[in-house]
């Protein structure tokens, strides 16, 4: 199968029903997206498919053939981090950081879709992304900052 991930084409040999997450982590060496639950309930595995956040843990790899997959590693353009990666650092918007990659791609898609999104909208968009450490408010501040600086 041929996959386009972060702008690069990759040939992978595996069962087409293999969850995208395992192909990314085990075949392509892109370990940014994380396994959290395997049921699409926590958001740790989120990646973008044609710009939309999806749970890569329960998305079979056949379904993304011919589409653009973007992982947290692909948020960097020309060596420059995404504005959200900068604001997450500025706000120290994590504790353990296991949920961070999923948060970043979800928010990147949100800001593309809705550049002026308000706080309540950010929280709603992140309700499918769980954080156990309690870094929520920092994450929301980081997204608000990224928004302000982009507009």
């Amino acid at each position: 199968m041929t996959l386009v991930v972060n702008g690069s084409r990759h040939e992978v040999e595996c069962d087409p029903d293999t969850p995208l997450l395992y192909v990314l982590r085990n075949d392509l060496g892109l370990v940014g997206a994380k396994f959290g639950c395997g049921l699409g309930l926590c958001g740790a595995c989120n990646v973008l498919v044609d710009g939309h956040p999806v749970h890569s843990c329960d998305t079979p790899v056949w379904s993304v053939e011919g589409k653009e997959v973007t992982t947290v590693e692909g948020l960097v353009t020309d060596g420059r981090p995404h504005r959200l990666q900068e604001t997450f650092a500025e706000q120290q918007a994590l504790q353990c950081g296991y949920c961070t990659a999923g948060m970043l791609v979800t928010c990147a898609a949100l800001l593309e879709r809705e550049p002026g999104v308000e706080e309540a909208g950010i929280r709603r968009a992140l309700d499918g992304n769980l954080c156990r450490c309690g870094a929520h408010n920092r994450i929301v501040r980081a997204v608000l900052d990224a928004r302000t600086n982009e507009s």
Partner: protein
């Protein structure tokens, strides 16, 4: 209780337990010729930012740029043994040790330079590791490494800096691990991909104590790339080349199993009744004459509080990695105590500890004794079947929520006898709970798989740490308030239907909730404002200070907040000897309990990293809010049934209120841990705010609509 006297930080480092156990300078650090300072701590990164705080302490005492400091992850092949990273003691123990080590290393380097130049050390200046004499001659720590060995005993006497002179400590230095994590670079144990790595999974029994009668392995072995099926007694696992295939094989193996099962768990609906009627061991934590004589009051307040079992519910399932090379074993784990894990593994597997190396690698957030150690041992057992090849085991989400150690369910009874004027004459606090400590490491509890193999080890019911270490069931059961006669007892269950162990704050969660609820009730009975009532009972100045700071910041006593809205306050000093923390919660209660704001005031003594402390306090408050309003491990008579995020929901972004943290900086006092201080006070504040909003004292956690309705008279 009598306020514990506190003394200002001595500038001469005092011995710490960490230094006593690891007394050679070279165990703690190496200065490299290339200008790096390589630091080995026995404390591990759990997502709490401890490595950053420790690096700040090192940079401060040595006078080097923090960028030179390289924090090495703890491993049994060279790190100091500092036991567990637990109890909010890392900055206290490892920080004190490193401060003393660095102060001495600095003195040694200055003495070396001074002797060579014929000047006194006092005349020298150090800037970023470069030593300069008054006449301009220069050398540096890195130039001196060839002549100055750190292979020597730690000696007392080197003066550490005065806090007033701090440049690096006290600043919000960014987290060292953050750049990797926002870039998605490999950082977690789950991300390790050593050459030839295989994927392993374990079939956990369908119920507690189930015996594997037989298994048909044929279907599992037919899955492509399956390398081994491992069965030892009731321990069953599979190893495969690819992760998706090991999961298929796991499912196939599971459906090929025949188990012998029986009921072994109490009835969930009557869990409180079970706790107070099960066999227990009683310990009196405090008795100041409350048992003697008559009850001695004209009226009494009695109340029973309950919390269910709680899950750690970390975002990542536990993970372990192991490889056997001949009779040597290498293990990677996100354990809180790599030396204890090594002891446990080597004993169960029949190796000398010297044949086993356990290396710490970061996992997701760790809030106590989770399944990290168990997953490591799973990997050891599976890797034994494929010598020379590393095996990574990742638990399923379902196993993580149901088979990991749980925070114990608890009952607290409080009885307060009052005189005519409403003053407390006698205070009795009883706790029923399973023990809060069953960490691995001889002679305590075996790792999970060790209880399932053919030569099974028996799991003893969890114990409780002694009160001088903060206690377990009885943590924070002794009130901060000056009650004249008090009796505080724990009743630790000597039977353990569900495995329990340390979860953040241990018993402090419910003990503080209960004490603060009753104190609040007494304030209402006395017709006194709850903050004012507490102040009348408090002589501990630092407790009074956080109470007043939280109340003031929250606008306590001012303004109308509207119908169904109330403010509540909670206060505790963690372990009665750690950080002071007070929380004000603003709660709106209509169909459900909604917390609109939390205001937290905290005193952790000398603050090493202000933003790090705020992050920990805020995180603790939000986790406590999640436990207190939402969380409950569900079970039937055979096993835990809350196995996904749908059955075990935690706080979501839309439910998270703003958290305002006031940090009372006390540089003149020793640093105290921040990770657990806000748990009890937050829970208590929410419960008391719910009362203020509704007039209901809800004493059964979590504060779900059902439990609120059940509390109506």
């Amino acid at each position: 209780m009598t306020p514990t006297p506190t003394t200002p930080t001595p500038t001469t480092p005092t011995p710490t337990p960490s230094l006593e156990a690891n007394p050679r300078l070279g165990q703690w650090m190496t200065i490299e010729p290339d200008g790096r300072v390589v630091v080995r701590s026995g404390k591990v990164e759990l997502g709490q930012g401890v490595l950053t705080a420790l690096a700040q302490i090192v940079a401060e005492e040595l006078d080097v740029d923090p960028a030179r400091v390289v924090m090495v992850a703890t491993g049994t092949d060279g790190s100091p043994d500092e036991s567990y990273t637990a109890g909010s003691l890392s900055v206290q123990h490892s920080g004190s040790a490193l401060r003393a080590v660095c102060a001495q290393v600095r003195v040694l380097h200055l003495a070396e330079a001074a002797a060579g130049w014929g000047v006194t050390p006092d005349a020298l200046e150090v800037v970023d590791g470069t030593i300069t004499a008054p006449d301009g001659r220069r050398t540096s720590y890195w130039e001196q490494v060839r002549v100055l060995s750190l292979d020597r005993e730690v000696a007392p006497g080197a003066r550490a800096k005065r806090p007033g002179a701090y440049q690096v400590v006290g600043r919000s230095m960014p987290r060292l691990d953050l750049p990797d994590k926002v870039a998605g670079r490999p950082r977690f144990i789950h991300d390790l991909r050593p050459a030839g790595m295989l994927h392993g999974r374990v079939v956990r029994p369908p119920s507690r104590g189930a015996i594997l009668a037989s298994v048909d392995e044929a279907a599992a072995r037919r899955v492509p790339g399956v390398v081994a099926v491992v069965r030892d007694g009731s321990f069953l696992g599979v190893v495969a080349e690819r992760e998706e295939n090991v999961l298929r094989a796991l499912a196939a193996l599971r459906s090929g199993c025949v188990w012998k099962e029986e009921d072994s768990l109490p009835v969930e609906r009557d869990l409180a009744g079970f706790l107070v009627s099960a066999p227990t061991q009683e310990t009196v934590l405090s008795d100041t004459g409350a048992t003697a004589g008559s009850p001695g009051g004209s009226r009494s307040v009695r109340a029973r509080f309950f919390r269910p079992f709680l899950a750690h519910a970390s975002l990542a399932p536990s993970c372990g990695l192991a490889v056997w090379e001949g009779d040597r074993l290498a293990v990677w784990s996100h354990s809180q105590g790599v030396y204890r894990l090594r002891a446990s593994i080597s004993r169960s597997i029949g190796l000398d500890p010297e044949q086993v190396v356990v290396q710490h690698v970061e996992g997701a957030g760790c809030y106590g004794h989770n399944a990290a150690d168990d997953a490591a041992f799973d990997a050891v057992l599976l890797a034994r079947a494929v010598p020379g090849r590393p095996v990574q085991v990742v638990w399923t989400r379902e196993d993580e929520l149901s088979w990991g150690p749980l925070g114990p369910a608890m009952v607290v009874d409080i009885e307060a006898d009052l005189d005519e004027a409403g003053r407390v004459q006698r205070w009795v606090h009883d706790v029923w709970s399973n023990g809060h400590a069953s960490r691995p490491g001889p002679p305590s509890s075996p790792l999970l798989a060790a209880t399932q193999v053919e030569a099974a080890e028996t799991a003893m019911p969890a114990g409780d740490p002694p009160l001088q270490n903060g206690g377990g069931s009885g943590r924070n059961a002794i009130p901060l308030y000056d009650f004249p006669r008090q009796l505080v007892r724990t009743h630790r269950l000597t039977t353990m239907p569900l495995r329990t162990s340390a979860l953040r704050a241990l018993g402090a969660h419910l003990n503080v909730y209960a004490i603060e609820s009753v104190v609040d009730q007494l304030a209402v009975l006395a017709g006194v404002d709850p903050v004012e009532y507490r102040l009348r009972l408090l002589t501990d100045e630092r407790a009074r200070a956080v109470l007043c700071a939280a109340a003031e910041r929250a606008g306590w006593g001012s303004g109308d907040r509207g119908p169904d809205v109330g403010l509540g306050i909670g206060l505790a000093r963690y372990k009665n000897r750690g950080a002071w923390c007070a929380v004000v919660a603003e709660v709106e209660a209509e169909a459900s309990v909604r917390v609109r704001r939390l205001t937290v005031a905290v005193d952790v003594g000398l603050v090493v990293n202000p933003d790090g402390v705020v992050n920990q306090i805020e995180g603790g408050a939000l986790q406590a809010l999640s436990w207190t309003t939402k969380e409950q491990v569900r079970f039937d008579t055979r096993t835990v049934t809350s196995r996904t995020w749908e059955d075990y929901p935690i706080l979501t972004f839309s439910e998270v209120p703003p958290v305002d943290v006031v940090l009372l900086d006390r540089p003149e006092y020793p640093s105290l841990g921040a990770g657990e201080a806000s748990i009890g006070p937050t829970a208590a504040a929410v419960g008391n705010a719910l009362f203020a909003a509704t007039g209901l004292r809800v004493r059964t956690l979590p504060l779900t609509p059902a439990n609120v309705v059940a509390a109506m008279d």
